[in-house]
């Protein structure tokens, strides 16, 4: 197969990584923008409006250009993530892409004019820290630890 030099391999990983993060952010934003506009002027005033439970509503929502762009961007993001996982480890991909939580909150505040309280910012940062801690763990899989010594039930 293709033997990339380390530099090329790193450049490739980071390009796909940036592509994934950007597509995910744009996709989420476009989808949210489209869905909010679907609600119409009357419904947006009611903050407590509950989401539609009619499946047809969601099928029809796909016809909205913003929703459609969002869906396409998220599908391409999913493919980019699969490529990313084929060239790097999950324990690298998961912690690094956790930055997406902060990006989404930032875009929500700036583009969608959502009210982001200090409490919500702290919560978002905690989720990123927790996600990094959880996923970047040096895996203590059963092969390396005491479970080999444990008596198996069967």
């Amino acid at each position: 197969m293709v033997n990339d030099s380390p530099k090329v391999a790193i450049a490739k990983t980071f390009s796909v990584l940036l592509l994934f993060i950007a597509l995910k952010a744009v996709g989420n934003l476009s989808l949210a923008w489209g869905m909010k506009h679907l609600m119409g002027g009357a419904a947006t005033s009611a903050a407590s409006a509950s989401p539609s439970v009619n499946p047809l509503f969601y099928i029809r929502a796909m016809l909205n250009p913003y929703v459609l762009i969002g869906v396409v961007a998220l599908i391409v993001a999913l493919l980019a993530r699969m490529v990313l996982l084929s060239i790097s480890d999950l324990s690298f991909v998961l912690p690094v892409t956790a930055v997406g939580y902060v990006i989404a909150t930032y875009l929500g505040k700036t583009v969608l004019h959502e009210e982001v309280t200090a409490k919500r910012w702290i919560g978002t940062v905690l989720i990123v820290i927790g996600a990094v801690l959880t996923s970047s763990t040096v895996h203590t899989s059963s092969a390396r630890t005491s479970s080999n010594k444990e008596a198996k039930p069967q």
Binding site: N28, L31, P51, Y58, T105, S141
Partner: protein, 119 residues
């Protein structure tokens, strides 16, 4: 209502991952030399899990759509990080993996974050 959607989104994502992972392990077994009828049966099982996995992904996606329809994006995306809590619990109690202190602490911090984001 929004917490139900968050729970649905996170559970469906985790379910989809588990099914995909299960299917990939099956595929590994299959390449070890299964032939004929057995191979066909395995393929049907594989495909069924694949369909289920895609179905779960769809449930997760539509939950997210419903969340951003009425709620802020700055709620819907960060709370999807609750998947780290569920996956850690599944790893410990279902897969009987050794969950280290660091991972347990990480999942607890995510939980605290989700509570703050929602509050």
């Amino acid at each position: 209502m929004r917490w139900i959607l968050v729970a649905l989104m996170v559970a469906a994502t985790a379910m989809s991952d588990v099914l995909q992972s299960f299917e990939m392990k099956r595929a590994g077994e299959q390449s070890a030399g299964a032939r004929g009828l057995m191979r066909l049966l395995v393929m049907i099982v594989q495909r069924r899990y694949l369909i289920l996995s895609i179905g779960c992904l769809a449930v997760s996606f539509f939950s997210f759509m419903a969340l951003v329809q009425t709620g802020p994006l700055s709620f819907a995306v960060p709370t999807s990080g609750a998947s780290f809590i569920l996956e850690t619990l599944l790893a410990k109690f279902l897969l009987k993996e050794n969950v280290g202190t660091r991972r347990a602490a990480g999942a607890s911090i995510v939980l605290a974050g989700v509570v703050l984001v929602g509050g």
